[in-house]
């Protein structure tokens, strides 16, 4: 057997654009319906949030800033008193089941003891207070969710047989509703009791129930999600519970689940793209000793349905600048679609947590006879732009700061954040993911501009 090309990792300066990790608030507050997020920080943070979230901010969101003032920073004001006052107001106005404090770099630098204050206020107010320190002097974008989930992990009830069996009843009922048409779901109540599988990662509820369904098809039932739709419904964790991540940026949560809650981690590729979804389920089946059924046909069917999109992208090249940690899974999927990936920038690479995904990437490259992409951790955007000028990729997956300038230099781009917000998980959503990737490419061929609009910038190339 031919040996696989081993991935090599490079590390650059870390001068790249990404969103601040507190932006996770934007999707987490929507996911956990009875939560309230309080970001403790300075004006910069608030300004960022309000601009990044655009219209959402007007919808009476369940999050706010506790904006520190000069007095807080010089510690003239008592942190605890201040937070108490603010949380009381939040309680009165919105009455949430949990308040999640997002610590920022400000609290970090001035060493505000959020962890120490929270338990005291929790008692006083009678509302759970979870502290997630975006702790991110070196964390990027989606890793914010990771810190928030890792902190929430400690609040999940302890797993023990009696309570779980009770809960199971609910879960089964719930799932049957989801899959009325699926006759298999009814006859395997006995089997599903063996598996205590909790999935972690925040997905829109429709995507989550699709994933439930996929694993249900293989007679593995999902006993809970972290995060759940409501804070009050967090899944039970403990010895004997298997956990599996649905997103590549959840390494801290994975570690916490293993070390602190004694759960068993199922290391699998992530369910992005039909190939990823299949590999993900196969791995889960393997763990629960279930023989996967009909997965291959299902995958082939999905690829067939994608053929119109595949025609557009096969043979095209991609350069991914890197800002949200989905990059490896996405590259693997795109290579399987027949694209050539030149470079995968990624803010941070946890080789253990992503091991299965990396392996699948290698296999995919071999299978598709494509070179292994160059993987660049902590990329340097300036150097990347230089490299792009040489490589002239057909598509750059990039942040919004670079998209318009690159377009003006005739490099088609796709905003990377869209992959974070769009539904791209599971076989069902593979089409949506490709819809995003192909959009700039489709637009181009449709273009009616007769003029030579190839370069619309006056700036010299090397800038």
């Amino acid at each position: 057997m031919k040996t696989l090309e081993i991935p090599t990792f490079e590390c650059e300066t870390g001068n790249y654009h990404t969103f601040c990790p507190i932006s996770c608030v934007a999707w987490l507050y929507q996911k956990i319906e009875d939560s309230f997020f309080l970001v403790v920080g300075t004006k910069t943070r608030g300004y960022f949030l309000q601009n990044a979230l655009g219209v959402m901010i007007f919808a009476e969101p369940r999050y706010a800033m506790a904006e520190s003032e000069e007095g807080d920073i010089s510690a003239q004001l008592n942190d605890q008193k201040e937070l108490e006052r603010i949380c009381l107001r939040v309680k009165d106005d919105r009455n949430p089941s949990v308040i999640i404090w997002i610590g920022t770099r400000t609290t970090e630098i001035i060493k505000m003891d959020l962890e120490g204050i929270a338990p005291k206020l929790e008692k006083q107010l009678g509302i759970p207070i979870v502290v997630a320190r975006a702790n991110g002097l070196d964390h990027a974008f989606t890793q914010g969710e990771d810190t928030a989930l890792a902190a929430t992990t400690h609040r999940c009830p302890e797993y023990n047989h009696r309570t779980t069996n009770q809960q199971k009843g609910d879960v089964v009922k719930h799932i049957v509703v989801d899959v009325v048409s699926d006759d298999k779901s009814l006859d395997e109540g006995g089997k599903s009791n063996r598996c205590n599988l909790v999935l972690f990662g925040s997905l829109p509820s429709s995507v989550a129930s699709q994933s439930n369904l996929e694993s249900r098809r293989q007679s593995v039932s999902v006993s809970g999600w972290l995060p759940s739709q409501r804070y009050t419904e967090l899944p039970a964790l403990g010895e004997g519970v298997y956990v599996c991540g649905v997103n590549p940026f959840l390494s801290r949560t994975a570690t916490t689940l293993m070390r602190r809650r004694k759960c068993q981690l199922v290391g699998a590729p992530f369910p992005i793209g039909p190939d990823g979804t299949r590999a993900w389920i196969e791995k889960i089946c393997l763990v629960f000793d279930v023989k996967p059924d009909g997965l291959e046909e299902r995958e082939n069917q999905i690829w067939k349905n994608l053929s119109d999109y595949l025609d557009i992208i096969t043979g095209k090249s991609v350069f991914s600048m890197g800002d949200n940690l989905l990059e490896i899974s996405l590259a693997r999927f795109l290579i399987r679609c027949g694209m050539v990936v030149y470079e995968v920038g990624i803010p941070y690479m946890d080789r253990r947590y992503q091991a299965a995904e990396l392996l699948l990437l290698q296999h995919t490259c071999e299978k598709m006879k494509k070179p292994m992409p160059r993987i660049v951790e902590k990329p340097d955007n300036y150097s990347q732009v230089q490299r792009m000028h040489e490589l002239q990729p057909d598509l750059a997956i990039t942040g919004m700061a670079h998209a318009n300038p690159l377009e003006a230099r005739d490099i088609d781009t796709k905003w990377s954040v869209e992959f974070t917000f769009a539904q791209i998980h599971g076989s069902v959503n593979a089409r949506d993911a490709l819809e995003l990737v192909t959009r700039p490419l489709r637009r181009k061929s449709d273009s009616v501009l007769g003029l030579d609009c190839r370069s619309l910038s006056r700036q010299t190339v090397d800038v």
Binding site: P405, A408, S457, Q459
Partner: protein, 514 residues
């Protein structure tokens, strides 16, 4: 600490970055953690910038926390110097640097030794000033730096131009309709025989700053940014300046009259004869601008006495207030600004023009005020537009903060004579939209529309409406429905009634009608 959901003016470093990235070949290096370079996204998306925003971060990570960022900042400065050869590098502090209390001046001193570019640290205090004040300050700092240096090197050109000319100060990136205003502003003095010497900072090159004093005078179209620079040039270089915003017919006329005064002082030295600015204004007002004619037309008569609420930055809110009241006969119930630092002057300007003045940075206060007044139209920022949406009142956007739709591709100045046309459209359309909606209501078009309580505060309601009473207000035309409903609730509260029935409604109505 304070609880905040929304802010009108951004943090200080945004102001500095806006000024720095507007000048040509200036690079800003932010001393900030990862993710704080959100400015680049704003500029690239909102302004649809074609070029890379000349801002990079010198990332403050754990490492920096432990050892200080001196080496890193200096390396980043030299690297930019080599890669892009900017004329100037502005080291921009963020809250992080203010908390870490690092000595940026010291970094700059060391970096300038080896760098070809000039390097200065932006001198803004993160906690004391907001975006606009910081922009004002940074602009002054840069101009001062180059003018003083030119003076020391005796390259400063202090001979005024032969023909009258002006500098336009304060046009810059991400400013509300700034690009269009700039074009209109160049035209305005141009037509009255005055050349534009320089526009700063937008698109200007630092090399030419030494020629700034050649202009006969400076104009500062927006109060928020540029006044410090103008005041400095007046004090140090004796240049007079005009700080009237030429927005609306009468302000524009005042603006041109000022120009006339300044130019005609030199009349004896002019080769041609005196310019007649009055004639120019007259002609423009009557025939170029449609606004004067509009205010006489039947359309505008219909607006007379209608109520409006206004909120925005000091420049726009004050000017629009004046236009509505003096040029269109509309009643302004409330006019306000979030520019707290300019409150005194704002009060002075809208004095006597409106019933109520509100100066606040708190959007809930603005929302509640608007909900209480229930004007027929709102003129405000994007925030007020959304407030309007929730309580069903049309809103025209007249000031930052704004979204991408407020960076139109088409020509939409707010200043000058073309600006008066644009504003007239904006105002008329806003009111008209509301009227159309109401007449639909009157003729039963929207009878399924839910009753709006027109309250924005999060107070829980402790008054119940019986179903019959609830449906009753639907028979009242929309534009009075909210008021009726509220009066009823106030009446109920005042009389300790906890359930509103039809009887209570009519009782309330009797009480409130004269």
């Amino acid at each position: 600490m304070k609880l905040a959901y929304w802010m009108y003016a951004g943090p200080a470093h945004i102001g500095t970055l806006r000024v720095a990235s507007s000048s040509r070949n200036v690079h800003a290096i932010m001393h900030a953690p990862l993710g704080d370079d959100y400015f680049n996204v704003m500029r690239s998306t909102s302004e649809r910038e074609r070029d890379f925003t000349p801002v990079t971060a010198s990332v403050a990570d754990r490492h920096v926390l432990a050892r200080g960022s001196q080496e890193k900042v200096i390396n980043n400065i030299s690297r930019k110097d080599e890669e892009q050869h900017p004329d100037l590098i502005v080291l921009t502090p963020t809250c992080t640097s203010s908390i870490l209390q690092e000595d940026l001046q010291n970094f700059v001193d060391r970096a300038s030794l080896s760098s070809e570019s000039d390097v200065i640290p932006a001198d803004v205090n993160y906690h004391r000033v907001n975006e606009l004040q910081a922009a004002d300050r940074t602009l002054e700092q840069i101009i001062r730096f180059y003018m003083d240096r030119a003076r020391k090197r005796s390259t400063l050109d202090r001979s005024v131009t032969d023909a009258p000319s002006a500098n336009i100060i304060g046009i810059f990136t991400l400013g509300f309709h700034n690009q269009h205003d700039c074009r209109e502003l160049k035209r305005l003095p141009g037509e009255s025989g005055i050349a534009v010497n320089q526009v700063i900072p937008e698109g200007g090159s630092l090399k030419y700053l030494k020629d700034l004093p050649r202009a006969w005078f400076n104009t500062v179209p927006y109060r928020e940014v540029g006044l410090m620079t103008a005041a400095f040039s007046e004090k140090e270089y004796g240049m007079p300046y005009i700080s009237i915003t030429p927005m609306g017919i009468s302000n524009t006329a005042d603006f041109i009259a000022q120009i006339g005064k300044l130019v005609n002082v030199w009349a004896f030295a002019l080769p041609e004869k005196r310019l007649n600015y009055k004639l120019y204004v007259d002609n423009q007002t009557k025939f170029v601008s449609q606004a004067a004619w509009f205010s006489k037309s039947i359309d505008c008569q219909n607006l007379a006495g209608k109520e409006a609420a206004i909120f925005g930055d000091a420049t726009h809110a004050a000017s629009i207030t004046k236009i509505l009241v003096k040029e269109m006969g509309i009643r302004v119930s409330c006019s306000g600004t979030y520019c707290k630092h300019d409150a005194e002057r704002f009060n002075e300007q809208v004095q006597g023009l409106c019933d109520e003045v509100i100066v606040t940075e708190n959007h809930t206060e603005v929302g509640d005020t608007i909900a209480r007044i229930e004007p027929s139209a709102i003129f405000g920022t994007q925030m007020e537009r959304h407030i309007g949406k929730r309580i069903d009142i049309p809103c025209g956007v007249i000031s930052s903060p704004v979204h991408i739709q407020n960076f139109p591709l088409g020509y939409r100045p707010f200043l000058g004579y073309e600006g008066t046309n644009q504003i007239a459209d904006l105002i008329y359309n806003s009111f008209n939209l509301g009227m159309e909606d109401h007449s639909l209501d009157v003729f039963g078009g929207h009878d399924t529309k839910e009753v709006s309580t027109k309250s924005l505060s999060t107070d829980r309601r402790d008054i119940n409406w019986t179903p019959e009473a609830e449906s009753e207000p639907n028979r009242i035309p929309g534009f009075v429905r909210g008021k009726t409903k509220k009066n009823t609730e106030v009446f109920a509260k005042g009389n300790n009634i906890s359930e509103i029935t039809i009887d209570v409604m009519y009782a309330a109505k009797e009480k409130s009608s004269p």
